[in-house]
């Protein structure tokens, strides 16, 4: 490293390197990042394949349109071929890596008010239970939600909070809430009045086990962005699953009501709801405002 370096630079370089050594030595150990990287990597591959396939279709379509539009004879008879894909990738076998146990690094958010208490302040056993639950939820939601929502990670502030983050940096907050109902009668029916949802939509469906669920897609956070949410009752709990827009990118939640209803109808999702209903981790509805 010190070849041809002025003496002063060499001395500075040694000091900087020493400081670097000591700085990284104080870093806490990091969780195994490999399982999540594998999930993300698979997603990237799938997207790349899709993009290439779409590109080929577009080019082929353009070629067909071009060929039809060209006059017969002369140069017009030359076939326009779609460019061969020179992208040196997506033909790898999709299953060379054994599926490891996934761990989703939680997103850290500081409480912003006195009413907000972080999970970190809970007794260790309670905190561990919630963290484990969040991991299971994050992994399952990641599998069930559309890829456009991004990689799902828990938020360490509250058990109900998660977020999806896409490769291009969009962040979609996700709420999965199971809390004691406090005697409520379940989700309200869709409003009869057409204008009541102000351009949004409402759907009602029946989940496995005869559970009535209602889904809204409504304007949220700005006049240009929509959130998608599903509500239903289970056991003694009110359940909500919501995907909200990325307000900074002014991008709506990239999930439809049908897709979100399919998520909550999945038996694995309902298993998590059942667990949370039997082991409540949130306050009852009466004591928390805002949901």
């Amino acid at each position: 490293m010190g070849d041809n370096m002025p003496e002063d630079d060499q001395r500075n370089a040694l000091l900087v390197r020493d400081a670097m050594e000591r700085t990284v030595a104080e870093l806490p150990p990091v969780h195994d990042l490999v399982p999540t990287a594998v999930t993300q990597g698979r997603r990237r591959r799938a997207r790349a394949r899709l993009a290439i396939a779409a590109g080929i279709v577009c080019v082929a379509g353009a070629a067909v349109v071009g060929a039809v539009g060209l006059p017969a004879g002369g140069d017009g008879g030359t076939t326009v071929r779609p460019a061969a894909s020179g992208t040196p990738e997506p033909s790898e076998s999709p299953t060379p890596v054994q599926e490891p146990e996934a761990y989703r690094t939680p997103v850290h958010i500081e409480p912003t008010s006195d009413e907000e208490t972080a999970m970190a302040d809970l007794p260790p056993a309670e905190r561990k239970q919630r963290e484990d639950f969040q991991q299971r939820v994050a992994v399952l939601l990641d599998e069930l939600l559309p890829d456009a929502v991004g990689l799902i990670r828990p938020v360490d502030l509250e058990v109900r909070r998660y977020q999806g983050e896409t490769d291009d940096g969009k962040v979609f907050p996700v709420i999965f809430s199971v809390r004691p109902s406090g005697g409520g009668s379940g989700p309200k029916p869709c409003p009869d009045e057409p204008g009541a949802l102000k351009g949004g939509s409402c759907e009602r469906t029946t989940l496995p086990g005869g559970i009535e669920a209602i889904s809204y897609r409504m304007l949220s956070d700005s006049p240009e962005t929509t959130a998608t949410m599903v509500y239903f009752s289970y056991g003694n709990s009110d359940v909500a699953l919501t995907v909200t827009p990325d307000t900074n990118a002014t991008t709506s939640a990239p999930v439809t009501s049908e897709e979100l209803l399919a998520v909550v109808g999945d038996s694995r999702f309902l298993d998590l709801v059942r667990y949370a209903d039997k082991n409540p981790m949130q306050e009852s509805q009466i004591s928390i405002a805002g949901d």
């Binding site: 490293m1 900087v16 670097m20 104080e26 990287a37 594998v38 890596v97």
Partner: protein, 177 residues
């Protein structure tokens, strides 16, 4: 310069194909440390390392065929860091984001290496980390960052002088000692 014990790679050695998991498990800590020096914040470093590993997984066939897979991984890490910084800069220019993650604040109010590194522009910071932490030659850094060797030399020299000025003559403090 003495061997720094961070695990060395054997230049020019041809390697047997390695599974992604084996490689990633063995190298994730080192990549994480480099990422930490690049971005100065453990959470961002974790995200950066994870994205780097995901990109390696995506292109594993090509990556594992590379002569120097470590260098390949380092290149992905550095370019991902620089791309992310460019994106953030664009975002900052496009919107005011009061809710975005604040710059890392180090517990100790003293001047630290990380806060000294933070005053460097991203490319200069990457050069310093690659040269003095990763022990990369001027040629390698120039190639990785698509610039001339003289640019690397002059930038590194200027950056070292800046770091020295920030850190002071007597001591270079680490994050929290």
């Amino acid at each position: 310069m003495p061997e720094n014990g961070r695990g060395s790679e054997a230049p020019g050695r041809s390697r047997a194909p390695e599974s992604f998991e084996t490689f990633a498990r063995a190298r994730q800590r080192r990549l994480y440390r480099t990422a930490y020096l690049l971005c100065g914040d453990p959470e961002t470093a974790r995200d950066l390392t994870q994205t780097t590993l995901a990109k390696l997984f995506q292109h594993w066939r090509r990556a594992s065929a590379a002569d120097h897979i470590e260098a390949y991984a380092r290149t992905v890490l550095t370019r991902t860091y620089l791309a992310e910084r460019r994106r953030r800069l664009r975002d900052l220019l496009a919107h005011s984001r009061p809710g975005s993650r604040p710059a890392p604040e180090h517990a100790d109010r003293r001047v630290t290496l990380l806060s000294a590194l933070a005053v460097l522009p991203p490319r200069a910071r990457a050069m310093v980390v690659l040269r003095y932490w990763e022990d990369q030659s001027v040629e390698s850094v120039a190639e990785l960052l698509n610039c001339s060797e003289s640019t690397v030399k002059s930038q590194c020299s200027r950056s070292l002088a800046k770091l020295r000025a920030q850190l002071g003559e007597a001591h270079i403090y680490t994050t929290e000692s």
